[in-house]
């Protein structure tokens, strides 16, 4: 994997992580029975 490709991959991963971070709400109460 070349440098440019690695940077793009890391960028996509950060983008996904941000979408999942801001698109998720975690609160107490719920979960398993």
């Amino acid at each position: 994997m070349n440098k440019k490709s690695l940077i793009v991959t890391i960028g996509i991963c950060i983008g996904i992580a941000l979408i999942l971070y801001f698109g998720t709400s975690i609160s107490i109460g719920g979960g398993i029975n």
Binding site: A17, L20, T24, I26, S27, G30, G31, I32
Partner: protein, 234 residues
Amino acid sequence: MNISICILTALILAYFFSDIIKKYSLQLYIITGTISIIAIVHTIFILNGYRVEYISGLGKFMDLIDSGAMGGALFIIVMYMGVLDMKQKVSKKLRMNRAEISILACIVTIPHNIHYFFEFLINSHNLGEMKGLSLWSNLMMFASGVFAVAIMIPLFVTSFQYFRKKMKGKEWKTLQEFAYIFYAMIYIQVMNVFIVRPNSFDRNFNLVIYSVIFLSYTVFRIVKLFRMKRMRAA
């Protein structure tokens, strides 16, 4: 219904982006791994009594990972690649990425495995209150799941070119034959998941679709085996 959507989407992507999947397989593993790690973190929150909610669209996507539908769909595609007629252009295009798709399937299935393995252990005290079909289906679900994961891990590791090159061809082929037991375990698990659910269109549809997929695969595989034996004998 989820499984049909996943299979169709994965098939379209695997066919039209076969060259991209081949070229950027490592990048795809990293991106899929990132999503899986986040899904595992969310699973840890859920197992610790937190409620994890997503914005619309994202919720459906994460549910497909958590329910195992996405991983299952990819495994079904990998499974059918073994019985495809290699003379067809479609088969050739799909089969060129068999190892890559099976690695992606394993990565995307790990959050599902972790979630339901620990949920079963945490809820195991409820087993004493269960009777009949409910008890047996829960036990079968767990046992087939654990067995499937135990087979999946070595298959996952040896799907990488690096480890594959370190093995003798015959050794690798023998190990890969365990995939048939793995597929059988997936079928047993899925049947047990849906058979205990209340009668509904979704439950019946899933029971029928999974049975059609796995039983027709078995027929295709047996037919291929006999055809190969006949060719060798000729």
